[in-house]
C-alpha cells in the first residue's frame, strides 16, 4: 500500500480550486473557468497514467486502454472500478460509476423539472447555481480521463453526465 492522506485533504483542495476559478478569477466567464479546471485535471491524469503504466507493455488497441482506465486507473484513484462500460464500436465509450465518490458529499437536486418552474426565483437561482457548481467540479475528473488517455496516445473529448445520480457517466469520444 502506497502513501495515503485523508480524503478531506483532496476534497478541500478540489473545492477550493473550483471556487477560486469560478468565483474569483473568472466569476463572469464560466467557460474560461471550466477550461482551467479541465487543464488542471488533464495535467494530473497525464502524470498519473505515466506513473501507472511504466511497467506495462503498450496497449494493443483503444479498448485495452479504456479497460485499463476502468480497472487499474480507477482503482488507484477511487478504490473501486468503473461499474459499467458501453461502446458503440465507433470510438465512443461510456464509463459509468454507480456511486461517484467526488459527488457523494454534494447536495444536488436531481429533479430537472424544478429548474425554471420554481415559484421563488431565488430558490431557482440557488438551485441553478448548485447545478453549475457541480458541473464545474466535474470538469476536473473529465480532464483527468482525457489526460490519462492522451498520455496513452489516444486523443479524445470527455464529458460527464449526471442525469442518473448518484451514478455518473463519463462519455469518451475518441478523435479519429
Amino acid at each position: 500500500m502506497g502513501r495515503e492522506v485523508s480524503e478531506s485533504c483532496v476534497e478541500s483542495l478540489l473545492t477550493e480550486m473550483v471556487s477560486s476559478y469560478c468565483n474569483q478569477f473568472y466569476a463572469n466567464k464560466p467557460e474560461l473557468a471550466a477550461r482551467r479546471i479541465e487543464a488542471i485535471g488533464y495535467d494530473v491524469g497525464h502524470r498519473l497514467s505515466e506513473r501507472y503504466t511504466m511497467e506495462r507493455p503498450r496497449f494493443s488497441d483503444h479498448l485495452e486502454a479504456i479497460k485499463f482506465i476502468c480497472k487499474d486507473f480507477w482503482s488507484e484513484l477511487f478504490k473501486k472500478q468503473i461499474d459499467n462500460l458501453k461502446t458503440n464500436h465507433r470510438g465512443t465509450f461510456v464509463l459509468q460509476d454507480n456511486r461517484f465518490r467526488w459527488l457523494s458529499r454534494m447536495s444536488i437536486d436531481p429533479s430537472p423539472e424544478n429548474t425554471g418552474l420554481s415559484q421563488d426565483s431565488s430558490v431557482a437561482l440557488a438551485e441553478n447555481k448548485a447545478t453549475q457548481a457541480t458541473n464545474m467540479y466535474l470538469y476536473f475528473p473529465c480532464g483527468i480521463i482525457r489526460g490519462a488517455l492522451s498520455n496513452l496516445g489516444i486523443p479524445c473529448a470527455v464529458s460527464a453526465d449526471i442525469s442518473n445520480l448518484p451514478a455518473c457517466s463519463f462519455v469518451v469520444r475518441i478523435k479519429a
Partner: protein
C-alpha cells in the same frame, strides 16, 4: 424566562465550548442541546439545557469522551492515494503560476486558499479528535503538531523554537506529502510552494479565537534540511457567548 421560551439549539464540546456554528452541528459527533435558560450567579453563568439528540450514552451533564491520538484518527478516516493529492496540488500551483504570472500573487493565492480550507477543516478536527479546550498556546501547538498534521496528512510535525513568553514557536516537518516528486525550476524563485499549509493553520486557529501570523523559516525546496513554519500568536480574541437571551 420560562423553559419554553426561545429554546436555542446549540452544541457543547467539553463543558465550556459552545457554538452555534451551523457547520459544527453537521459535523456528526457530539450532542445537540436546547438551551432552556441561563442564570447569572455571582460571576458565573449557569446553563440549563436538555439533550435533544445524542449518538452516545451521556452520564450526568458532560459527554465522557477522551481525546484521541492522531494515529488512531488517521487509521479510521477515509483515506486516498497521496499521489493524487500531491499531483493535484502541483497542477494547481502550475496553473496559478501561468494565470497569475507574479510569484508573489501565487503565494498570496495559495495562502488564501489554505485559509479557506482551514476555517472548514477545524470543524472536522474538533469533531474527530475530541480534544477539550487547550489551556494555553503551548498545548494548542502540540495538538496541531501531533493530531492535526497526522489526521489529515498522515505525518507528524515537531514543535520547537519557543520564545520566552510562549507566544511563538515553529512546526518542523521532515516529511511532507505535498512535495513528493517536486523540484522547482529557477523561474520560481520566491515561490513558497507549500504556502497553502500556512494558510490552513492560520485559518483553523482563527476559528478558535487565535489570531496568528504564520511564516516559512526553512523550506526543503529551497535547499534547507526541513520545512519549518513559524507561528506567532498575535492576539487571543476572548470568546463571546453566542446569544443574547434577554431580547
Amino acid at each position: 424566562m420560562g423553559p419554553e421560551r426561545n429554546p436555542k439549539t446549540t452544541r457543547l464540546l467539553g463543558l465550556f465550548w459552545i457554538t452555534r456554528n451551523p457547520r459544527l452541528l453537521r459535523a456528526g459527533l457530539g450532542h445537540n442541546y436546547a438551551i432552556q435558560s441561563i442564570e447569572q450567579r455571582g460571576s458565573s453563568q449557569i446553563f440549563n439545557f436538555t439533550v435533544l439528540s445524542s449518538r452516545k450514552q451521556i452520564k450526568g451533564s458532560m459527554p465522557p469522551v477522551a481525546p484521541r491520538s492522531g494515529d488512531a484518527i488517521f487509521a479510521n478516516v477515509e483515506r486516498v492515494n497521496a499521489e493524487l493529492f500531491t499531483l493535484t496540488y502541483g497542477a494547481i500551483v502550475r496553473q496559478l503560476l501561468t494565470d497569475l504570472e507574479e510569484v508573489e500573487e501565487v503565494n498570496k493565492q495559495l495562502d488564501q486558499m489554505g485559509y479557506n480550507i482551514g476555517i472548514r477543516l477545524v470543524d472536522e478536527f474538533l469533531a474527530k479528535s475530541n480534544v477539550s479546550r487547550c489551556v494555553d498556546f503551548k498545548e494548542t501547538a502540540d495538538v496541531i503538531a501531533k493530531v492535526g498534521f497526522k489526521m489529515f496528512l498522515g505525518v507528524t510535525a515537531s514543535v520547537t523554537n519557543w520564545d520566552a513568553d510562549g507566544t511563538s514557536c515553529s512546526f518542523v516537518l521532515e516529511d511532507n506529502p505535498l512535495v513528493d516528486f517536486v523540484e522547482l525550476p529557477d523561474t520560481c524563485q520566491g515561490l513558497y510552494y507549500c504556502n497553502i499549509l500556512s494558510g490552513v493553520i492560520r485559518g483553523a486557529l482563527e476559528m478558535v479565537s487565535m489570531k496568528t501570523e504564520v511564516t516559512w523559516v526553512r523550506d526543503m525546496l529551497r535547499g534547507d534540511d526541513a520545512f519549518e513554519l513559524q507561528v506567532k500568536l498575535l492576539k487571543q480574541v476572548p470568546e463571546e457567548y453566542p446569544y443574547k437571551d434577554d431580547e
